[in-house]
């Protein structure tokens, strides 16, 4: 089972967290086209490699955070501050 490092609680079993999926910015709801909005809802890059993704520390501090994970090796890098879910990742 994957160990995921929460910025507050440290490394924890992935079952202690909720996977929030790939980080992606929310389009402006007032100007987004249907295709932009639906890309936000449904389309994911799903790369084999580094991916910025969101996790919710459900059984710990209950903070959302984003972190980069290499989907091919499951390495993590640079856990940012909590709440920085979509920062720099759009």
């Amino acid at each position: 089972m994957l160990l995921v490092t929460c910025p507050n609680c440290g490394p924890r079993n992935s079952t202690d967290l909720r996977y929030g999926g790939e980080s992606h910015a929310r389009p402006d709801p007032n100007t987004a086209s249907r295709s932009e909005w639906r890309a936000y809802l449904y389309l994911r890059d799903n790369p084999a490699g580094w991916l910025r993704e969101n996790w919710y520390c459900a059984s710990g501090c209950r903070r959302w955070f984003s972190i980069e994970r290499n989907t091919a090796t499951n390495e993590f890098r640079d856990p940012p501050l909590p709440g920085d879910k979509r920062g720099g990742a759009a």
Binding site: M1, L3, A32, R34, L41, W64, N74, P82, K85
Partner: protein
């Protein structure tokens, strides 16, 4: 082959002073403490232990250990017990499996004459047509299925689970594994050493060599003096991401089995090597054994394997077994050295015993009389745990086995898996591996602690990742001995011969993964530990390629089969109850489990409970209702963002209903939120949505609007919640409330007030109602819930107060046409489909799901509507389809249905296509029975009191 117990052996593990009596197929037998079931039976002269799966051929001992495919037995109600491993216990009732009527006379042995028909894919090819006969085929074939009998009346046994976080786990307790554990422990690591066998020591256990025994004694005493945790009769069954390990412990003092989940910082893999059988004609005849079997029988249990032996082999193991056999008086008829051109070609004898071995040696073909044939053809490297770590072992033809390739750096192999050497060489490699494992574990430990913000600070920098400077073990040359020039059994568990594999390859199943699935080779109880490489070799031969070219199957968890009981473990499912629960239990409650909550469903008669609420006053415990305490100046903005309706102007003391939609416009939750103070709000959610909405709120606040000043506290269980409903509820409340004016003018519908109730300060209540009656939803600090409930009950005797449960509430909400998110809506129900489209305020700047809801406004959507069957006595099942006339075209479905004791008729909510949503539309409901009934969509969701006069009262 006649086996018999011999005099005391210096290495034996049996206690001859403790005699154990047991039964074998109903007959009395005895053995000694320390015997396995198989060794006790062998000592008593038993030769046949099972019948083979397809051909029902008699089978005897092959390896005399855990992996022996021929020693599966039933012990009492315990099927598929490995008699080669399971220790004998007094009073055991041991029976053979897969035999009928008996082990000695088995009628299905006739299958063996059908052998040429029962080839690869026989079942697939034969029982495909005609298809309508399959149920018959299945019934007959089921009686041929191998395996023991499951007794459905077996009492539940206790299984246990444990979690542990050692620095180093060592899988395998041979000399290399023990040295690794000791070295890691000496370097300061916490170590868990796991031995598959009953004793540590690996192959030293059954070596009669004096130096081996001295080394074993030394290793055991050093291990005993260390603080290493040693698990015997336990197996590391799986290695998962980040060294998460499953370990099954079979000898726990209390539990039948215990599943240990270990997070190791480094894993040392030291399972040793497994002797590989040789493929030749008659290789499954009882009397053909591995050298390990002979040495275990002699040295662990003092059992002589036979009177006259032929030994065929190509390695030191074959040399060593000769000495052991001679010591117990087995005559050595011949030693055939596989390092020369000499080969064995077949065995001769009855189906029950070897009588002679056919040898093709320097003198040409030769028949040698013997009752036992020991075959040392080489080894299989059980690289399973390395495979599970992502390694792809590589075949070395010069050594005739697979070796680790490039496992991740926190998984280290040692012992025979890693290479060959003398005992000192293996021990040195083990110790070096242990030191490396400890050093890397220290680096991992440092990193884990340093990356935990609130952990104690770690001294110093993270240690460098220790380089692997171990002197590699050598590789002894070994001839590639897989198959003689005759065909024989490759997989004894599944009765698959080399001929079957060749046939499969010729039919096109020539990749090892395909051939495995087509023939089921390697899929039996030995899980490929004995068969995999011979299977690969047979395929390679059929393809005219090398083993490297064919490659091997990927070993997956588990390393050794484990029971479902071990996986299920101990049940640990906590439930939640409200503080009022003791009252319910004392009052004839019928409980329903909703998520984790145990809730009162009814107290005997839900219809009577409904009538009492409509006539008098009732109390329902609604504590599981989700409650979020929201504070801060930006709460109205948060509410406007999450709910589809408007919230910026909700006055203090006011309550409003709101609906939440997800970003795809689908209904997520609903509930009321009240403003208790200037910057203080209380949000309620559905009971099942309490957790999800909290997460949803946190997500928006933390990630999208981190600058907003809102503090969220979940208070679901901080308050006991009681809904006081019915025309006499105001009278009842007035008897227990202080500090609040309950008058309809002062405390109107959809407002909230704080009050002292039954002497309990800090309660708040809002005038809302799911039941449609005048009602007060009271929230009491949880510790006082039972007191307030009892005070209400005591104060309202003359008013006819009575409790009501979820079922009565469900009936009443359906009478009122209130939909339930998740019951009357589903994962595709957009906001406007609920009939609450007017709530959605698209002129708000932003809210969750706004674009989808804006686009949905232009579309005609399925609608939630109230429906009444024309026959008032018919209650359609929930999920009954609404269809077009006599066709099966689906136009909607019933989502909720009940019989209304208020209206004396059946009532429903349903979802229908847009053109059926208008009041007065006739629809057809298809019942589960196949009957079609007429029903009518009505004007309002509310079947009862559509104007809402009762609840505003």
């Amino acid at each position: 082959m006649t086996m018999s117990r011999q005099g005391v052996q210096p290495t034996e593990v049996i206690d001859r002073a403790v005699k154990l009596r047991f039964r074998w197929n109903g007959k009395r037998f005895s053995g000694f403490e320390g015997d396995t079931i198989a060794s006790a039976l062998a000592a008593a002269g038993e030769q046949i232990f099972s019948r083979s799966m397809k051909y029902h051929r008699p089978r005897g001992i092959l390896t005399a250990d855990y992996w022996d495919p021929n020693l599966m037995v039933q012990v009492g109600d315990d099927p598929n017990v490995r008699a080669g491993h399971r220790l004998l216990e007094s009073g055991m009732d041991v029976r053979s499996q897969n035999v009928w009527p008996s082990l000695n006379r088995d009628i299905k042995a006739a299958n063996r004459y059908l052998g040429r028909f029962l080839t690869a894919g026989f079942y697939y090819k034969t029982f495909m047509r005609p298809q309508w006969l399959w149920p018959t085929y299945e019934r007959v074939l089921a009686t041929f299925a191998p395996g023991g009998k499951v007794d459905l009346d077996t009492p539940h046994a206790y299984h246990d689970k444990r979690y542990t976080h050692p620095d180093v786990v060592v899988a395998g307790a041979g000399p290399a594994g023990i040295e690794a554990a000791l070295a890691a422990s000496n370097a300061g690591a916490s170590v868990l050493l796991v031995s598959h066998e009953h004793q540590v020591g690996g192959h030293l256990r059954y070596s009669s060599d004096a130096a081996d025994q001295a080394a074993l004694a030394e290793l055991r005493s050093t291990l005993g003096a260390s603080d290493i945790e040693v698990l015997t009769d336990s197996t590391v069954t799986g290695r998962y991401e980040d060294n998460w390990l499953g370990i099954v412990q079979r000898n726990h003092p209390i539990a039948v089995e215990r599943l240990i989940k270990a997070r190791a910082k480094t894993l040392v893999v030291a399972p040793g090597l497994i002797e590989r059988p040789y493929v030749f004609e008659g290789n499954d005849r009882p009397g053909v054994i591995t050298p390990g079997a002979a040495r275990r029988l002699i040295n662990l249990w003092g059992v002589k394997p036979g009177e006259r032996a032929v030994v065929f082999g190509a390695n030191a193991e074959a040399d060593a077994v000769v000495g052991d056999l001679e010591r117990v008086g087995t005559e050595i008829a011949a030693v055939i050295d596989g390092r020369t051109a000499a080969r064995i070609s077949s065995t001769a004898g009855s189906s029950r015993a070897v009588e002679a071995v056919m040898v093709d040696g320097a003198q040409g073909p030769q028949r040698i009389e013997a009752d036992v044939l020991v075959v040392a053809a080489g080894w299989t490297a059980p690289t399973s745990l390395l495979n599970m770590a992502g390694d792809r072992p590589v075949y070395d033809p010069a050594a005739a086995r697979f070796f680790p390739s490039d496992p991740p750096s926190n998984v280290l192999a040692t012992g025979g898996l890693a290479g060959d050497g003398d005992l000192d060489g293996l021990r040195r490699h083990g110790a070096a591996t242990g030191r490396l494992a400890a050093a890397r574990a220290a680096a991992v430990r440092h990193r884990l602690q340093a990356s935990t913000a609130r952990a104690l600070p770690v001294d110093g920098d993270e240690p460098a990742w220790a380089p692997d400077e171990r002197a590699p073990l050598g590789r002894d040359p070994h001839p590639e001995l897989y198959r003689a020039d005759t065909h024989g059994m490759v997989d004894m568990s599944e009765d698959i011969s080399s001929k079957d594999l060749v046939a499969a390859a010729h039919e096109g199943y020539d990749s090892v993964e395909l051939a495995k699935r087509y023939t089921t080779a390697t899929m039996g109880p030995s899980q490929g530990k004995l068969e995999t490489v011979n299977t690969v070799a047979a395929i390679a031969e059929a393809r005219g390629e090398t083993i490297s070219q064919v490659g091997t199957t990927v070993w997956r968890p588990p390393y050794a089969p484990l029971t479902l009981g071990a996986l299920a473990g101990r049940m640990f499912e906590p439930v939640r109850v409200s503080s009022i629960h003791p009252w319910h239990e004392a009052n004839n409650v019928s409980i329903i489990q909703a998520g984790q909550w145990l809730r009162p469903d009814h107290y005997g008669d839900p219809a009577a409970e409904v009538r009492n609420v409509r006539r008098n006053v009732g109390l329902i415990d609604v504590t599981p209702l989700g409650k979020l305490d929201l504070r801060g100046p930006d709460v109205p903005k948060l509410l406007s963002l999450l709910y589809v309706n408007k919230w910026m102007k909700l006055g203090v003391g006011r309550v409003r209903y709101g609906m939440m939609c997800a970003e795809d416009g689908v209904v997520l939750d609903d509930g009321v939120t009240g403003r208790l103070g200037e910057d203080h709000y209380m949000m309620s959610t559905t009971s099942s949505g309490a957790g999800g909405v909290w997460e949803w709120v946190e997500n928006w606040l933390q990630t999208e609007r981190p600058d907003w000043q809102v503090h969220v506290t979940p208070v679901t269980t901080a308050y006991a919640s009681i809904n006081v409903a019915g025309p006499k509820s105001r009278e009842l409340m007035s008897r227990v409330c202080e500090g609040v004016d309950l008058d309809a003018e002062a405390f109107p519908y959809m407002t909230v007030r704080e009050a002292t109730v039954a002497g309990v300060a800090g309660c708040f209540m809002w005038r809302i109602g799911f039941t449609g009656e005048l009602s007060f939803e009271l929230h009491v600090p949880a510790g006082h819930g039972l007191h307030v409930w009892e005070a209400l009950m005591d104060s309202g005797c003359d008013l006819g107060v009575a409790s009501f449960g979820l079922e009565a509430q469900r009936i009443m909400r359906l009478e009122k046409g209130h939909f339930i998110v998740g019951q009357d809506t589903d994962g595709l129900t957009l906001g406007p489909s609920t009939g609450m489209g007017s709530l959605i305020k698209l002129d708000k700047d932003d809210f969750a799901g706004k674009p989808e809801l804006a686009w949905a406004a232009d579309r005609s959507l399925p609608m939630v509507v109230a429906i009444q069957p024309d026959d008032p006595d018919v209650v359609p099942e929930e999920a009954a389809q609404i269809v077009r006339g006599d066709t099966n075209e689906i136009l909607g479905r019933i989502t909720s249905s009940r019989y209304s004791p208020t209206l004396n008729r059946s009532i429903c909510l349903g979802q229908v296509e847009p053109d059926l949503a208008a009041g007065g539309t006739k629809v057809t409901v298809l019942l589960e029975s196949g009957e079609r009934i007429g029903a009518t969509v009505i004007d309002h969701h509310a079947h009862f009191d559509p104007a809402g006069e009762r609840l505003r009262g």
